[in-house]
């Protein structure tokens, strides 16, 4: 009892001390923290949140870019949902997302496992692997347009005398979609491989040696030791690459411009066309808002599923 009384007196006195001390601005960590964080928050609010709020507001109004304004309620949203090209763009974007993310992570991991031993020229490999990451996606798309040119591109030339196939890569629906996914994986897998290689070299060796002594097969070691050890790397990659993929624009846009008969439109390319090319502002804003909700939802799912992985 007495101890509790003493404790409460002690705490009360401490509280008075803290309240009485008026710390100067740059010494109080909390105030200083807010001050330092202020520029970032201000600029984000002005350039990101405010325009988004405008977009939300304007999405309830009709009219073209140079037309007149009139409140139309949810009509723009209905227009978006009934737009078959929009639905197909969501479908292909989802397909692209799953295939490209899965492909790049799997191939990156495969390469990293293959190269997870000592060899000469490690630095050279690192430099080479970083190259696709540094080259602009625009130029990457340019490269692959040239390679996949049906009549004079080198891809069809090689395919021609080996397999006798001459597909119109970017001119047909299936091959165009495949090409976009392929080019993305080509561009991003090497960097993922580097991330995995760095993660693999940081792993402790004892569990692996112990497992080998105990007679575990390579597959068992991979499944029960390697994969769980790599969870942080997976978490980072899925989150970052996921965000990059939902926001993607450059590669599909330059490669196919929306593709043969609009089959390779993704969220961003179709929204671009609706708003900037066709001038349908209201519908464009509505599409933008809906796409934002979808993207944030996907990223939220990825974030919350991989949060535990990163805390190993």
């Amino acid at each position: 009892m007495r101890f509790l009384k003493r404790l409460s007196r002690f705490l009360r006195r401490k509280k008075e001390e803290v309240v009485k001390k008026k710390l100067p601005l740059t010494s109080d960590p909390r105030k200083l923290g807010l001050l330092l964080a202020l520029p970032a928050v201000i600029i984000t609010v002005i350039v990101l949140l405010y325009p988004l709020a405008i977009a939300l507001y304007e999405s309830f109004f009709g009219g073209f870019v140079i037309g007149r304004h009139s409140f139309v309620g949810l009509e723009n949203y209905i227009k978006v949902f009934t737009d078959s090209v929009w639905r197909s763009s969501i479908f292909f974007h989802f397909l692209f997302f799953v295939c490209a993310l899965g492909g790049e992570v799997v191939i990156g991991l495969g390469i990293a496992l293959l190269l997870n031993r000592k060899f000469l020229g490690r630095g050279v490999i690192r430099t080479i692997f970083v190259v696709p990451f540094m080259v602009a996606p625009t130029v990457i798309a340019l490269m692959w347009i040239w390679i996949l040119e049906p009549s004079i591109g080198i891809a069809n030339y090689i395919l021609g005398f080996t397999l006798g196939l001459q597909p119109k890569w970017l001119g047909e629906v299936v091959t165009a979609r495949f090409s976009i996914i392929f080019v993305w994986i080509w561009a991003k897998a090497p960097w993922d491989a580097l991330v995995f290689m760095a993660a693999l070299t940081g792993l402790p060796k004892e569990p692996y040696d112990a497992a080998k002594v105990d007679g575990a097969s390579r597959w068992q070691i991979f499944r029960h030791l390697t994969l769980p050890d790599l969870k942080p790397a997976f978490a980072v990659l899925f989150l970052l690459r996921g965000i990059m993929l939902v926001r993607e624009f450059d590669i599909p846009f330059v490669l196919t411009r929306g593709g043969p008969a609009r089959s390779t439109e993704i969220m961003s390319t179709w929204a671009y066309k609706v708003f900037f090319k066709f001038g349908q502002m209201g519908k464009g804003y509505a599409m933008g808002i809906i796409n934002t909700i979808i993207c944030v939802a996907i990223i939220a799912v990825i974030y919350y599923t991989t949060r535990k992985w990163g805390q190993e």
């Binding site: 970032a40 949140l49 304007e58 690192r126 540094m134 671009y272």
Partner: protein, 293 residues
């Protein structure tokens, strides 16, 4: 008898090891070739005259044909497509300015979130992360009319501001991760030596965080250099075009003339590759910093 058997077993083991080694190197070469070959092909095509570009069986150019590159800087090209160096200069300006802004603003808020007890810091951090997930196109649409109203529409400065805001969450994420691991003993020793709280940031933490700042700067530079979407939507006159946008314009208009087009591609790639070679060590450090985030 036994010794012979043991010898043979040892020899077989060594042969296996050699085969494994050789196949490892072959695999490495194949992978490296697969990654580098498109860029190589771009380079080779840029060195061919038009006639040779139409013949895919010709892998190597017959001679070093530099006229494609000369053409890009010639008057005829400038008449049709604008003065080429201008696009490079615009890109350099935009990228460096973005790096500047993002690093300065981002470092402050990252330090605040990591070390100072900012109220709601976790929510601010998450907020930035989800803002980072907002698709670019929505932002471009909304910023388009906003900038049109305040006169920032066709300007490089507007582009810089938008790019800064777009990549800020990423820079914050990188730097917060780093600052959170910064040893508090160093900060405390700075305070004991008489620094104010803010002084600790400028005099102790920042100078010792150079690797993290450089890594962030590299990522932001690449992001700004390479970005197409915002320049496509917010820049309307060719005077203000940046490199990726100019590349898209050339792809559209130069369609069949592959020689100069590939030459332009190589020119656009050279700064990035140069960057990669020059800053390879930092990039390697970057990749190691990240997985622990």
């Amino acid at each position: 008898m036994k010794e012979k058997m043991v010898e043979e077993i040892i020899k077989a083991e060594e042969r296996k090891k050699k085969i494994k080694r050789v196949s490892l190197y072959i695999t490495i070469c194949l992978i490296a070739f697969f990654i580098v070959s498109p860029v190589l092909w771009l380079l080779l095509t840029s060195l061919k005259p038009a006639v040779e570009t139409y013949d895919p069986s010709r892998i190597l150019p017959s001679h070093l044909y530099l006229k494609n590159y000369v053409y890009i800087f010639s008057d005829k090209f400038t008449w049709n497509y604008g003065w080429a160096p201008r696009y490079f200069l615009n890109s350099i300006f935009v990228s460096i300015a973005t790096v500047f802004l993002v690093t300065i603003i981002g470092a402050h808020i990252a330090y605040a979130l990591a070390k100072l007890k900012v109220p709601f810091s976790k929510y601010i951090y998450l907020g930035f992360l989800f803002l980072f997930a907002v698709p670019d196109m929505t932002l471009a649409m909304s910023v388009y009319s906003f900038f049109a109203d305040i006169g920032l529409l066709n300007t490089l400065h507007g582009l810089i501001i938008v790019l800064t805001v777009r990549v800020l969450p990423f820079a914050i994420w990188l730097m917060t991760t780093f600052f959170a691991q910064f040893p508090i003993e160093l900060e405390d020793s700075g305070r004991i030596d008489g620094c104010s709280r803010l002084g600790v940031f400028y005099r102790v933490v920042l100078p010792l965080s150079k690797p993290a700042l450089v890594v962030t700067a590299i990522y932001v530079f690449i992001f700004a250099w390479v970005n197409l979407l915002f320049s496509l939507t917010l820049i309307t006159s060719t005077r203000n075009y940046v490199l990726p946008l100019a590349t898209v314009m050339f792809v559209e208009e130069m369609k069949i003339v592959w020689g100069p087009l590939c030459a332009w591609g190589i020119l656009a790639v050279i700064p990035c590759v140069f960057f990669a070679l020059f800053l390879q060590k930092y990039i390697a450090a970057a990749i190691i910093v990240r997985p622990k985030g």
